[in-house]
Symmetry: C5
Subunit: 321 residues, 5 copies
């Protein structure tokens, strides 16, 4: 679905143009065309390939989707694949943004994303002194928007870890903790697979030999790279803490097992001692003088209770009960 | 066994040619010969070595099989070893594809693979504008086909992990989970050993100094490299989740142990208390007034049941039963 | 909040100058201006941006805070982000120091830090032969001060590990040990995220191509780098020991469980044997000669005690009790 | 002990020569001397140092033994240290092969190895077209022989892992599995320490700047490197599986513990219930009508058996027994 | 404390000289001064700084001590920090050796070390052909001595691991094993922190661009580097085995727990069965024919013993007892 198709010149919007005029505008000097598609049909992509003269392999990738994030050079144009992550009901959903950038055009297609990039276009149009840097600047603006949207997702995961951390030394929370930690791990892996390849790709736009389109924008792409590094470092940190949390959780489970065994042992002793005494006084020897004592029975009961009180106090002291 | 032996010129099939004419066609300008062997006999390889003038060490490798994936340069020709993986009844089987590529010939030999490369040849013949790139393009087409066949294997392993994940927090599934996770690990290692060295090798065809045969094909080999990177990242992700799943499984086993111990303790108490009471009223003291109460026995039974009901409720409350 | 705004020439303080004169002093040859801000308002930063001509992206970063440590070049000026760590009541708090350095100015802003850098300024003013190196030397002096303040934090964490190590083989300390180890891990991660990126950044000031501002100061920045390497190595060492300590702690928990089970088994046997004997002599067979023995009861009690003494000694011998 | 001392020219054996003539033959053009020593005495090495003019540090290393594998350049000569591994009665023994190579000599000394290199010499003499490459080719032939002898060792370790894998999910095999896995780990570490440094060293003979002696042999050394890479990858794979196997084994041990506890609980209940019933009917209340029932005793026994059958079936159903 | 202060020329000792003459001798051509200090006072270092013209930052480091091993260039002089490790009563103690090297002087200061370097000086003076290489050779000789002293420490740790390995599958040794393994880990970390940075530093003296002072000594420093690599590889190997040993130890602890539980279950059954029988024959039913059998009691005892013998044999068979 076509979202926008606009021509710009010297940082200002020229006009909304029909798709069939694209190839014409692209040829004009000092002019660039910015097209946005959403969940494009194959036929739309074919049309764009024709109008912009896109490389077969790049269009193939855009058609299939499910690529890993990357930035590839085809001659003097670039093909960037980015992934978006959106949270909904505690679930992460992956979307994809493919961007074709040439010296005087930019074509972005997004799939399976809720949130579009209208605000990016609006911001760019409000800052003509930056937009006149051309398609390289638009690429930056789109990437910056995609990357900035990762931060709330990361915050969510940090909060999830903190929730586990509050519960980790609490008894009987082991099962829910371990489930939460496994789910956290899955989400971290997802985020990692979105961010790490992109970080690697962006590093090529900010250091060493930079593609023609991005020259003069080096500081801006370095800024995106810097954000990705922060995300990367945070994810690695979360992964590390998550691993430790699983180990700690295992320790708490085993500690709890020991405590249960101690309780079992303590109460077993408290029941077994009077049972033994009762057994003794259930014996049938003829000559058992206690049987004839007038208060034998009561003495016996007292002894049972007495032993148990002592045992109970003892087990309290050694913290088994 | 010889599968095909065809000469091509300018992207079009010239003729099926007999093996003895190979060396002749190879000398013609603008012409290249594409030979496919299946489970070749040593004698066939010797014959090919002679016709194409292949390097001793490369033919040695092809003769022995069981190489690790690699791409080696011998002067202006290349020798590529790829491994195939096929699934059958939940088992992975390794096959091998060796490809000798010279400026005007390509010789592929496959071993222990079910599926051949007839469809690759058919596709190439349908696209003469690409096939006229010569042997470099055929090398790409073969590698692309081999690499594309890894994806369903990976999907299978992802499904296997998901099956475990569904069961991992279910009781009494620990044993089957751990078996499934170990088997998954074995398959992941197999896949990793097939993909990682190939990825390293292909990177040399797409970046930096590229062998003569592959110049002009750089974007195509980068595409293969990109697929291998996706596979690599997915395998690493699976390995990471598998490790976490084993830790979680261990946690669940220990948690289950605790629960069993709690149950044991709870029921032991419920049996031990009336046993103690019965013991007490089995004592033989002369003076035990309860014995003479008309409903002593029934009171006693009621007490037993009463204590047990209380205990049961208590253990339910603290979740031991 | 403005802390200081001073102009220096040839290593000596020229004068405290008002903010509005900064741009003027900056233009004078052989003169540099050193401004220090604390928890600056956005408006203050805007003012500074204007006076010094700072880059938009750098000021943006300083405005937002929460950056990861880094050193970035903008033309012939540098923008450095450092983080401070302060301990208070066993909690670590992060602060941030942003430093803008140009050939003849240095602007430092600190946020959320208790301790300022007045002593750094004082030391610099006492050593004019070093201060005449200009803004590069001031950058070094500030970085050196920030880095030196990490060492007491590290010492604190080393002490925390040592405290755990003293307790790790002590019984019943497992729970507090595991809590201490988890808390240590959190603090180590915090420190690592502060130090590692800074180390990476500083390495660029001491080796290879060095920014213009820092030439001639290479040995000094190498010294800072060396301190950061020591911190890094110590953190890695602590992380490694912490991981081992968690494993050892788990082993101790399980060992303790075994010891509890042994104790339970031992005492259970010591109670069960006389209970069995009592049971036997509670049987109602007509023909049980022991019943008629005059000392049958006492013999029986003696047998019970005798067996238990033997059992007790046996369990002591095999270290179950 | 001197094994061989032979002069070659143009790929053919010239003559067995006495040690004192070595320095003379070494000076002749187109001629090279190949000396093999076994467990050499210090005096023999001194003699060789003199005849060949070997570097002090290299001879020192050969004298002491216990070096790690390496290849060092001394001017235009090379000094290679390789380690051999031989299996005997399931034990691995390390040996050492030191090779001094100059433009026209090769001196190999082996220590603590059962198997010599006579077959290498024989093969070289059978292939004069290769042997005329001189000392570089002999170095390759010796290295190739040493490396090929690692494969059976690796196969042995793979078999050992497979044996464990067959037993790993079998009950009561945990102890022998864990012993086998530890022993496997030790052997893998040994192999790793032999192969990894050698791989690193050989890589310098096959890529980049190659020592004079080895030019023209690059493909051959690449072949050795390739074998070492295969060994390296297999060892890493085995190490990885071994780690997982230890974790799985731990899981099985804990699972088994749970099963034992379940069995204990089940049988305890089956014994405790009739014990309780017997206790009840051992009570001495006057008014217990069951006592007077003619078949009371038999009903009671039937009840005991009945409860136990039900319990047994229940425990079978929940898989505790 | 001044240990030695000697001037050398052309590899021979010229004279012991007083400290105040150092600066004079240093200026003479073909002459170098070698000074050794032990636990120097700040004032002594100040004196040396003056005499040799040492760099402020290097002297600062020497004054403070507790540096990590490093080799730094200051113009055409070098500053090396090495750490020594000495064993005493199973404890490791760290010492420090700081070496200042200029084209014609060498100043070594050692702290907290028992063993000095008199033997190094003696060996150097015995080998004038090497000593005439000047201060570079003395640096090598000192480093070689320090590094050689690490080997016995490593041997000690290897022996410690072997002692644990002998005990690791022995019952009831788990606690002492785990303590020994933790202590081993601590020592390995200490050694690693001494050796790894030094290895990194020495690599710069043996490859690539080498400082002026060390040219011509490359093979010698490579030898030191090689020793450090061996130490490094051994430490990594020990660390790896130590980790596995901790895991195995945990497995043994859990296995032992299972065995204890089995024993508990077995003996519990052996006591519970006769207790049950005794309970049954303690019942008070009127009509219990066994009570009147003349040998009822003896039959009953026989039945008890019989069941227990069978149970015992059964538990032996399934290895629970």
């Amino acid at each position: 679905m076509l979202v926008n198709c606009v021509a710009y010149t010297e940082g200002h919007k020229l006009a909304d143009i029909p798709v069939e005029d694209i190839s014409e505008y692209v040829k004009r000097p000092n002019c660039f065309v910015w097209v946005a598609l959403k969940d494009p049909e194959p036929s739309e992509l074919d049309r764009m390939q024709e109008e912009f003269g896109l490389h077969e392999l790049a269009v193939d990738d855009a058609r299939q989707g499910h690529q890993r994030p990357k930035i590839e050079e085809y001659g003097d144009s670039l093909f960037a694949v980015l992934q978006t992550i959106e949270i909904k009901d505690d679930e992460l959903t992956l979307g994809e943004v493919d961007i074709f950038v040439g010296p005087n055009y930019i074509l972005s297609t997004r799939r399976k994303t809720q949130k579009g990039f209208v605000d990016v276009r609006a911001r760019c149009e409000r800052e003509p002194h930056l937009l006149q840097n051309g398609s390289g600047y638009v690429l930056y603006a789109l990437m910056d928007a995609v990357v900035d949207r990762y931060f709330p997702v990361l915050d969510e995961l940090e909060t999830a870890l903190e929730r586990v951390e509050e519960q980790i030394f609490v008894k009987n929370a082991a099962r829910s903790n371990i489930e939460a930690l496994y789910s956290l791990k899955q989400k971290l892996m997802m985020l990692k697979h979105v961010i790490d390849p992109l970080m690697e790709a962006v590093s090529k736009l900010s250091g060493g030999r930079v593609p023609q389109i991005c020259t003069g924008m080096r500081e801006y792409f370095r800024d995106v790279y810097d954000h990705l590094q922060r995300l990367h470092a945070s994810i690695e940190g979360l992964r590390d803490m998550q691993t430790t949390a699983i180990q700690v959780n295992l320790g708490m489970i085993n500690l709890n097992e020991t405590e249960v065994t101690k309780k079992l042992a303590g109460w077993a002793a408290i029941i077994a001692i009077p049972t033994l005494i009762a057994g003794i006084y259930g014996m049938n020897f003829k000559n058992m003088p206690e049987y004839d004592w007038p208060y034998g029975y009561y003495l016996c009961l007292t002894a049972m209770v007495g032993f148990d009180v002592l045992l109970y106090l003892w087990f309290r002291k050694i913290r088994w009960l």
